[in-house]
């Protein structure tokens, strides 16, 4: 069986598990709820894996993921603020937070000398810490909203929706797919960037514009994901490594692989989070718990 078939089969299994496993009997209504979860899972997992791969390629750094650059923490901060102030319209807050912080990071990075990529990482890490601290402050000062913020920080796919919210979610999904395709167009540039910014410039790549465009596009996507399902960590970090191990360094192949593997991984983690206990666990907890040992295993085999 080719690797591609294997990966797609894995996704199919994950989808099946998400649809057929659950506490209630499978009726038309329950099916709707589960399908919602599946779609959110594929969207969030796929985008996180994909963005992780894009960012690791853009910055030529294997430890980068949407969190590192501040956009995920910014989105979480936005949503947390939304939760303790108005209490609804959180997606909008999350989205504003992600873009706002992304913009801030970019402006900070641009105002200093040196290669744009290095500065972006530095500014992103700093903003990430800042946002996390601010969220902590909000958490300490909140009462019952604490739970909601906690689940926001760890992500969860079982979001209750009414038909209106579902329409918005689908619109966001479609827009995100368009952005994903836009990002995929740059697969060659990412291959080239891995040899250094000078090589890239010499081959005709506008590294400054590329960094800026890819950075904002991933910040947008991250904002979308966090606004719908919260901040799920680890997927964006680990999945690209697995994709590269399996499909090689060419981004033409490992970008779609990152998407599919990310989707499969998140769906499986979500199914686990629903079945381990009666209580609903935030899926981010499960992604870290199974992700970390798996990652260690993968690297020890080298």
């Amino acid at each position: 069986m080719s690797k591609t078939t294997l990966v797609v089969a894995l996704l199919a299994v994950a989808v099946a598990a998400a649809i057929f496993i659950g506490p209630a009997a499978l009726s038309a209504d329950v099916l709707q709820i589960r399908l919602n979860r599946v779609i959110l899972g594929i969207f969030a997992g796929g985008i996180l894996g994909f963005c992780g791969a894009i960012l690791q390629g853009l910055f030529n750094n294997p430890l980068v993921e949407p969190y590192t650059l501040g956009s995920a923490s910014g989105a979480a901060l936005g949503a947390a603020l939304g939760i303790v102030t108005i209490g609804f319209l959180n997606p909008l807050f999350a989205f504003a937070g992600s873009l706002g912080v992304g913009l801030l990071v970019f402006v900070i990075a641009r105002s200093h000398a040196g290669a744009l990529q290095d500065r972006l990482i530095l500014a992103g890490v700093i903003m990430s810490f800042l946002c996390s601290s601010l969220v902590m402050i909000i958490m300490v000062m909140s009462g019952r909203e604490l739970y909601e913020i906690l689940y926001l920080l760890m992500g969860y796919l079982g979001v209750i929706m009414n038909p209106g919210q579902r329409v918005i979610a689908i619109a966001i999904l479609v827009l995100s797919l368009a952005i994903v395709i836009y990002l995929y167009r740059h697969h060659r540039e990412l291959d080239i960037l891995s040899q250094g910014a000078e090589t890239a410039s010499g081959l005709g790549v506008d590294t400054h514009r590329l960094s800026r465009n890819l950075f904002f596009a991933t910040a947008l996507l991250t904002g979308f994901v966090v606004s719908l399902v919260g901040a799920i960590g680890f997927v964006g970090l680990v999945i690209p490594h697995i994709a590269k191990r399996l499909f090689g360094p060419k981004h033409l192949r490992n970008l779609p692989a990152s998407f599919i593997l990310g989707a499969a991984f998140l769906l499986l983690a979500d199914t686990l989070s629903r079945t381990i206990t009666v209580y609903e666990l935030p899926v981010g907890v499960v992604t870290s718990l199974i992700g970390v040992p798996f990652f260690i295993y993968l690297y020890s085999k080298r």
Binding site: N60, A113, R185, H186, R188, D191, I192, S194, Q195, G196, E198, T199, S201, G202, L203, G204, V205, D206, K244, P249, K250
Partner: protein, 256 residues
Amino acid sequence: MNAIEVKNLNFSYDGKPVIRDISFTLKEGEFAGVIGPNGAGKSTLLRLLSRILDIQQGEIIVQGQKIRELDRRSLARAIGFVPQETHFTLDFTVADIVLMGRYPYLRPFQAESVGDREIMEQALAEAEVAEFKNRPVNSLSSGERQRVVIARALCQQPKILLLDEPTSHLDLRHQTGIMNLLKKLNGQGISIVIVNHDLNLAALYCRRLILLDRGTIRSDGTPTELIDEKLLKEVYQSEVRVIRHPDHDLPQVLLK
């Protein structure tokens, strides 16, 4: 047509001037070497010519067009740049790396064509790395990797090749190998500018030498004209002997 014209080029890093009012013309088919002590601005000049650095003051004209009016891809189709060392973070095969040289010719969702692959094969053959085609690039020696990078530059089908210290990290065999390859390419009509520390290699292969000192052109001419004891002592601040190479009518430098 001239390959490159440089007019009144000035460039500063962090407020410190590195290139001061440089002007020269590179004719088509020339094989020029840029020499000079550390900090003279040689590498910076090369990077300005290939637009890795954006020019601040002055003009660079490549094949009749101002560099600022050319989009990056067009420039990459005219000029191939080979850096001193390339660090390959991802372990692509040699074929993959060299094929990336076709980037300036491809649209985003366009796949590499049969024609592109043929050009890649040709470049591999020219650079004499065809036997390594399917090997991961990091399994090669540094000399072989350097040839791979040259092959990639050839894939750009440039009229001009710029190389920054192409032989610095190589052993003797690979050094002469690369220089002979460059000579062959020059024979096919590609204009070449190399920056080289090694004065003797530069003297043997380059038909024209440009001596840079603290950002300005100190001297510009044939090796015989530039490799002169008095001039070298003044610019490099060290005593040397210049002798005639026993096999060629060219000067060589010996340390005193």
